[in-house]
């Protein structure tokens, strides 16, 4: 359930990049000098940081690190493996 919710949040966030609602307007000029289109995308970058925080907090693949620590005795055959 948690995974599904996070997948939904990521999908919606990615779709929010296509902000057709600010396509044809520069107004309002935020702080008097930032056209709304670029301000939205600056906020989107901040939102991306928050999204990544959410993923790190609730979906961090800690099992990968535990598994990787169990180093394999034999290096994969492919590394020097033309035989």
């Amino acid at each position: 359930m948690k995974g599904l919710l996070l997948a939904l949040i990521v999908t919606v966030f990615v779709l929010l990049h296509q902000d057709f609602w600010f396509w044809r307007t520069a107004h309002p000029l935020v702080f008097g000098f930032l056209p709304i289109g670029i301000f939205y995308h600056a906020c989107y970058a901040v939102g991306a940081s928050l999204l990544m925080w959410l993923l790190v907090r609730f979906a961090w693949p800690s099992h990968l690190e535990k598994d990787a620590e169990k180093e394999e005795p034999v290096k994969a055959a492919c590394a020097e493996g033309h035989r």
């Binding site: 990049h17 000029l29 008097g32 289109g37 600056a42 940081s49 990544m52 990968l64 990787a68 590394a79």
Partner: protein
Amino acid sequence: MIPAAVVLLYLCVVLYIGIFAFRKSEARGKAEDYFLASRSLGPLVFLLSLFGTNMTAFTILGSSGHSFHNGIVTFGLMASSSAVVIPLTLFFIGTRVWAVGKKYGHMTPVQIFRDRWECGHIGTIIFLVQALLLMPYIIIGVMGGGTALQAISGGFVPYWFGGGLVAIVVMSYVFFGGMRGTAWVNTFQTVLFLTFGTTAVLVVGAGMGGFSTAMNDILQSPSLAPLLTRERVNPAYFFSYMFIPLSSIAFPHVCIFCLTARRMTQFKKTVIYYPLCILAIWLPSVYLGVAANHVADVPEIRQKIEARQILASQGAQLPDEERSRVRAQMASDDVILLLLGKYAPVWLAGLLGAGIMAAVMASDSQILALSTMFTEDVFAYYGGKARFGEAAQVATGRLFVIAFTLVAYIVALQAPARIFELAVQYGFSGYAALSPLLIAALYWKRSTKWGAAASTIWTACAVAAVAWFQASVPAPVGPPTVVWSIGGFELLSRTAGGTSVLGGFQPVVPMTLISALLMVVVSLMTKKPSEATIARYFPQ
């Protein structure tokens, strides 16, 4: 002269950092130390260096040049799309690359593919395609060094000398410091060009008497007002740019860099802060590029604006030679340098010039990645390491760095930059189309080497086809030239900036989707790897 002197001082500092990193290394002579810094990078160096690795000459110079002519759309196209897609790929793919690399000792993506799909020569094909797509970046890096140093010194340092100097500095610290030297230099450079953005905005903003007047004046001008909206941009074209950042994780230098983290937890801060780093460097660069349209009292900027107006109003009627001349006048990668020349005091222009050089000198990690791939995927794989030993492998890697940098420098002196700029453009799409390989290898048990081969060959053919198409059909001045349509629906068109398919999408969209489809279909039709291999990569 003072800015050039500051930049030369900066190059000395960079060289010192790279060689100091070499001295600090306790495991000199070991391949894993030279190529991967013994998988020991700490969190701050990992974040800043990974970010620096992804930034190129385009980040500061190209982005401001692009926004000068295209407006605020540049930020949405290239920055905010990367701000979400790159951290997502690092989170979902980078962490897994790190884990399998750590567990099985892999040092390159091709080693992962060979092991995961039990293949040999298909891995060599993937290596060749990756290497071919990477080469133009290195050449354009040398060219960028020459151009930037020439511009910063006001023409005092000639192009051939600047390019050569940058090539020697990069080659030296990659030669001595390997991954450790490259990572430290990248960290230093990232701090420098992150500082650059804020400082440049403050200096130019103060010089212009604030940005409000500039924006309001641009809004009042019918020819400039569209720069503050996206009304001239096709939404399908805008959407296509969400596919481009998929290339980041597929680039060998980024994928290899994922293997250098000491612990996987170092990805946590990297993915969280990465979008903020993008914001810090891209927003000022794009914004200043747009604002430069207000600075018509700088003759060079005024010429560019006039050339744009001539091309828009009379471009179709101009003879080819004249049109090329007007296009050359429009070249806008130096607008930020022109702004700094007007508004920044000389000493500060030098420091900011060093920030620009930091972004331009991004070819270090790419040269090292090519060297790592060559020594691991070819030299070691085909028996060189077994026959001559690990020390010979590292020596081969270092020789490769010298030989390749030399070739890149000679090519940079001979060939026109435009060719390589186009090749870089194809390279992004090509690597995006190769991203299904990593996703399939790490997430899909049923994927096979034949699926990987199909995706790779498709990518190589598609990149070659787009290059051939753009070379064969001249770029139109006005609306796109429709080459193929069915019932009025545009299937293939030549646009001023490249190629448009399926009603406005960039080629990267079908290239990536077809690559993924081929991976699925061909994998399902062919024999999967042994259960033992699948169990190693997907433990219960």
